[in-house]
């Protein structure tokens, strides 16, 4: 069964360092998303990406964040200068172009980011 894969599973970094989280969405999906979950809190939308550009972003997704689809398979989230409060589980998700009968997103297993 096709799945969304994310790397790394866990990354520890120093405050102020750049971090790149990588995702390989399901191959025939065309909408891509990043969500995050700070420990004990809700899953929060960061950004959606379609047709090689950002289609929506939340207030969390400030200038420190960027997304890119550098080739036909990877979808990356870059945090330019990490802060302590960026520590969270980051989930990549994808969905097909057409509205599915159920409308669900397909999530990866997440990348845990720890900023020290």
């Amino acid at each position: 069964e096709p799945e969304v894969t994310q790397t790394p599973s866990h990354q520890v970094t120093q405050m102020g360092q750049e971090v790149i989280l990588r995702c390989v969405p399901i191959s025939n999906h065309l909408y891509f998303y990043w969500y995050r979950q700070i420990l004990g809190q809700k899953v929060e939308f960061l950004v959606s990406f379609y047709n090689n550009e950002i289609s929506e972003k939340s207030e969390i997704f400030d200038d420190q964040f960027s997304v890119e689809r550098p080739d036909g398979s990877n979808f990356t989230l870059k945090i330019r200068s990490t802060k302590l409060e960026d520590s969270a589980m980051y989930f990549c998700a994808s969905s097909p172009l057409q509205r599915t009968n159920t409308g669900e997103l397909f999530f990866g297993e997440g990348s845990r980011l720890t900023v020290l």
């Binding site: 994310q6 899953v43 939308f45 959606s48 379609y50 409308g103 669900e104 997103l105 999530f107 297993e109």
Partner: protein, 115 residues
Amino acid sequence: DQQVKQNSPSLSVQEGRISILNCDYTNSMFDYFLWYKKYPAEGPTFLISISSIKDKNEDGRFTVFLNKSAKHLSLHIVPSQPGDSAVYFCAASTRLANTGNQFYFGTGTSLTVIP
């Protein structure tokens, strides 16, 4: 601004009994509602959904009820099984043309089914 709320952080139920997980929302523009299940160290996985034009959707042991006037939905699991123990997230979306989905998630309810 929390548009989707799950007011019960945890729930314990005996095996074989019914589990009822609740969710409230504030945005009347939401047109699709979903429940996701999450095990530790895994991403959320889709469980069941309901369109705003319906008030009930059933899939095996799982049933979702939608009360639009109350802006409330619930997930019923019957009978509950130990393998159902997980965190359940309620999510809602507004489908905007050509921009894909944006899902708003609740904080989750941790369900424990006691054997």
